[in-house]
């Protein structure tokens, strides 16, 4: 929008005939009815299954309703309950912890993998890319079942590896941190290759001329990394941070399949979406579930903005 205003200042001649476009609008629209018809399915589907549910969820969040009986107006009670329910805050805390545990190592490893893959003398690059991407295609339910056996309380492979070092077994799935670790490892495993591929594409789109010029000016490899690579990669890093924040706020399948609807014995796997699912579809508190949906929406929006600020806010070179 900004650009179009800057690039196309309205010439005065056009202002002389102000009502012309409006008079022609109706026949213009009729003339293009086929185009509107062609794009309409999306807008119809979105209106019914996207827009209307949002408005409806606002309404529902002020009601008390089990999905079958009468709806009764509940005022702000759902929100009040949500804000005072320790389980809700626990779910928020769990989600944030899992997000931190998973996102930071994931993006770090992804960047390393991308750098290794981008080195000029790497062979079998396509083979590596396919191998690293493979986890991303697998269904989360399957992943959760397999990782459940790796982190199994007594006989899991991880406990076996620990025993080789003389470390006693850990009941991973009975401990808050153990469940969160298992979920984070699943997230990292599934998404590290995806992010690496995206970083790799970003690295390859940086013009080599920049590096050559830096070399001529006597810049070291580290200087080139911080002055050329990182600034050029910033939009891509922002993209991966935002997408992994949105994904991280929505973690559901991993803990649900791994430790069940209550998030395990310790409740360490109770994420926000799992909490929403349990309250709405296991306990049938539909009105309350809608309110939790709004709470979640606000959290996601807040974190996306925070991320944006953090990644964009660094002093840039231009």
């Amino acid at each position: 929008m900004k650009n179009s205003m800057l690039n196309h200042p309205a010439p005065p001649e056009q202002k002389a005939v102000p009502s012309q476009p409006k008079q022609r609008l109706a026949p213009e629209i009729w003339k293009h009815r086929k185009e509107y018809l062609a794009i309409s399915p999306f807008f119809i589907v979105f209106a019914i299954f996207g827009l209307f549910p949002i408005a409806f969820s606002m309404f529902l969040s002020f009601q008390k309703w089990d999905g079958i009986g009468e709806m009764t107006f509940n005022g702000l009670n759902n929100y009040q309950f949500m804000l005072t329910d320790p389980e809700f805050w626990k779910a928020v805390g769990n989600t944030l912890l899992i997000w931190v545990y998973s996102t930071i190592p994931m993006l770090f490893f992804a960047l390393i993998i991308a750098f290794l893959l981008n080195a000029a003398f790497v062979r079998f690059r396509t083979f590596f890319r396919i191998g690293y991407f493979l986890p991303n295609v697998t269904s989360l339910v399957a992943v959760a079942i397999v990782f459940g056996t790796l982190f199994s309380n007594n006989y899991g492979l991880l406990n076996y590896v620990l025993s080789l070092f003389g470390i006693p077994s850990v009941e991973w799935l009975n401990k808050t941190w153990g469940i969160q670790l298992a979920v984070s490892v699943m997230v990292i495993w599934r998404w590290v290759g995806y992010n690496a591929i995206i970083y790799l594409a970003g690295l390859q789109s940086i013009p080599t001329v920049l590096y050559e010029a830096a070399k001529i000016d006597g810049a070291s490899g580290i200087q080139a990394f911080f002055k050329i690579t990182i600034p050029n990669l910033r939009p891509i890093i922002l993209f991966t941070v935002i997408t992994s924040t949105i994904g991280g706020m929505q973690v559901f399948t991993e803990p649900q399949v791994l430790v069940g609807n209550d998030g395990g014995v310790s409740g360490g796997g109770l994420t926000i979406v799992l909490y929403l699912y349990r309250e709405a579809f296991v306990h049938n508190y539909f009105g309350y579930g809608a309110a939790v949906g709004w709470g979640m929406f606000l959290l996601i929006a807040l974190f996306s903005i925070l991320n944006w600020r953090m990644v964009q806010g660094k002093p840039s070179n231009d």
Partner: protein
Amino acid sequence: MLKWKSILLHLGLIAGLIMSIFPFYWLLVMATRTTSEIYSFPPKLWFGPHLFDNIARVLSSIDFFGAFWNTLFVALACTLLVLFFDSLAGFTFAKFNFPGKKWLFVLLLATMMVPAQLSLVPSFVIMAEFGWVGTYKALIIPGMVNAFGIFWIRQYAQESVPSELLDAGKIDGCGFFRLYWNISLPILRPALSFLAAFTFIGVWNDYLWPLIILNDESKFTLQVALSSLNGIYTTDYSMVIAGTLLAVIPLILMFLFISKQFISDIAAGAIKS
């Protein structure tokens, strides 16, 4: 010097690759073992002889092929509908001008920001109102067109469908639909094949929405059937694992078949947006 660096670098990449592949190997090992062997200590790290008994038990305890066909049906239906509606809309946004086009496109992009969980409860209520709970309509119709695909096709069509060709088509008497179907669609094929794979994989792996919508075991998709297997038969773990293996294989094979192009398209999509 360079040689050492190269060897170290490849070793690093191979270590990462092993981490990436190991869970698949582990799945395969466990699927060939009995439950008591899975629970034995130290664990068996190599393949055993029980793969086929395990698979036989999966097939006799859940309707695996039923769930497989259900999933295939839903995924194919969604994919075909998405291909048609998204390409039609993307093509229109790319190649035609009409009043309000800019705003409609901005609105379309804005819808991508809305998190699905926000409308989880009301969407379920709407489906109940329509009488669609427990039917595939609830899975297919909301997913039959999406903003990402329209955006994707528009980007591609803008660059690759020449306006001169469309003008020539118009002169030859092609209507709007023929310009789309006969002239543009063949050119859009590479973009369509990525969109098809992307949609198919997404629908195939979807779990939360089918879990909420499907209440009848005979209608379960693979992911829901698999999780119910995991919940009910934990005493027969080797069977659960064998079921997981069966559910993973088709998608992996499909991915390996298309992987090269698919991965570069994912990367391209991220860079563009």
